[in-house]
C-alpha cells in the first residue's frame, strides 16, 4: 500500500471514517451545550455516510444502492437539524441557557 495509490485503497477511507466517528463521539460526550452536541452528531452522520460510500464503491455489486442510502441519510440529517434547532430555541426561551446541565427539570 504505497502513498500514490492511497486514494484507491478502501482502508484509507475506512480508517478516516473511524477517526471522524471517534472524534464525533468524543465531542458528543464532552460538549456541554446542545448546539455543540448537535454538531458532534453531524460528524457521526458524516462518518457513517463515508463508510457506506466506501463499501458501496469497493465491495458492492451495484454502485447505486449506497448513493441512494447516503442521500436518504442527508435528508434525515437535514430534518434532524431543523427539529433539533427549534427545540434548542424553545429551550433557550424557557431557560435562558442551552447548557445541558441546567435542563434538568420537567413539567408537572
Amino acid at each position: 500500500m504505497s502513498l500514490s495509490h492511497l486514494h484507491a485503497e478502501p482502508y484509507a477511507y475506512l480508517v478516516l471514517a473511524a477517526f471522524v466517528l471517534a472524534v464525533g463521539i468524543y465531542g458528543l460526550i464532552r460538549r456541554r451545550t446542545l448546539i455543540g452536541m448537535l454538531i458532534a452528531g453531524e460528524l457521526i452522520f458524516g462518518a457513517a455516510s463515508l463508510n457506506l460510500m466506501t463499501v458501496n464503491r469497493f465491495f458492492a455489486p451495484d454502485p447505486v444502492v449506497g448513493q441512494v442510502f447516503v442521500l436518504f441519510i442527508m435528508g434525515l440529517a437535514a430534518a434532524e437539524v431543523s427539529i433539533a434547532l427549534s427545540i434548542i430555541i424553545a429551550v433557550y426561551r424557557n431557560y435562558r441557557s442551552i447548557r445541558s446541565a441546567e435542563i434538568s427539570e420537567m413539567k408537572g
Binding site: 500514490s4 486514494h7 468524543y26 463515508l50 447505486v64 441512494v68 437535514a78
Partner: protein
C-alpha cells in the same frame, strides 16, 4: 495511460488535502470552545467529505454534500447560534469530575477508533465485483423512482413533518411566554 504530466502526483496530493480537511475539520468541530469556530470546522469537514465522495466515483453526492451540509445545515446552525448564546462555559478551574469525564470520553473515542479501524482493515471483505456497473446520476434517478420509490415518498413525508414540527415547536415556545 495518463498523458497529463504529474497526474498521479496531483491525484495523491488532492486526496491527501481532502482527507486532511476532513480530519482537521472534525477535530476543529469537536475541540474548540467557541461554537462558531466549531461550525466552521463542521463545514470544512463537509467540504473534505465532498471531495472524498468525488474520489469514490460519486460527483452527484459530492454536490449534494456541499449543497445540503455546507449550504443548509451549517447556515441553519449559525442561525441557531445567533438566536441563542451557546458558547461553552469557561471552566472555573479543573475539577476532579471534569478530568474524569475528559479521560472517559478520550478512552471511549480511542477504543472506538481502534476497534472500528481494526475491523475495517482486517475484515474479510468480499471480492470486488468484476463489472463496475453504472453509478451515474441517471441510474440514481431511475432507481429512486422505481426500486426505492416508497422510501423516496416516505422521506418526503418525513421532511414535511420536520418542517411543520419545527414551525410548531418554535411558535409554541413563543406563545408560552
Amino acid at each position: 495511460m495518463n498523458d497529463f504530466p504529474f497526474a498521479p502526483l496531483i491525484l495523491t496530493v488532492t486526496f491527501l488535502v481532502f482527507a486532511a480537511a476532513t480530519a482537521g475539520g472534525a477535530l476543529l468541530a469537536a475541540l474548540t470552545t467557541r461554537i462558531i469556530r466549531s461550525v466552521c470546522g463542521l463545514s470544512l469537514c463537509c467540504v473534505g467529505l465532498a471531495g472524498l465522495y468525488y474520489f469514490l466515483n460519486s460527483p452527484f453526492l459530492a454536490l449534494m454534500e456541499i449543497l445540503i451540509y455546507v449550504g443548509a445545515v451549517c447556515v441553519t446552525i449559525i442561525f441557531g447560534i445567533m438566536l441563542a448564546e451557546p458558547d461553552e462555559p469557561v471552566p472555573g478551574g479543573i475539577s476532579q469530575s471534569s478530568v474524569m469525564w475528559a479521560t472517559g470520553a478520550l478512552a471511549a473515542a480511542a477504543v472506538l477508533f481502534w476497534g472500528t479501524a481494526r475491523l475495517g482493515i482486517s475484515g474479510h471483505w468480499p471480492k470486488p465485483p468484476t463489472t463496475p456497473g453504472d453509478g451515474s446520476v441517471r441510474a440514481i434517478g431511475i432507481s429512486l423512482l422505481t426500486t426505492y420509490s416508497l422510501a423516496f415518498e416516505v422521506i418526503s413525508v418525513v421532511l414535511l413533518v420536520a418542517i411543520v414540527g419545527a414551525l410548531a415547536l418554535a411558535r409554541l415556545g413563543r406563545h408560552h411566554e
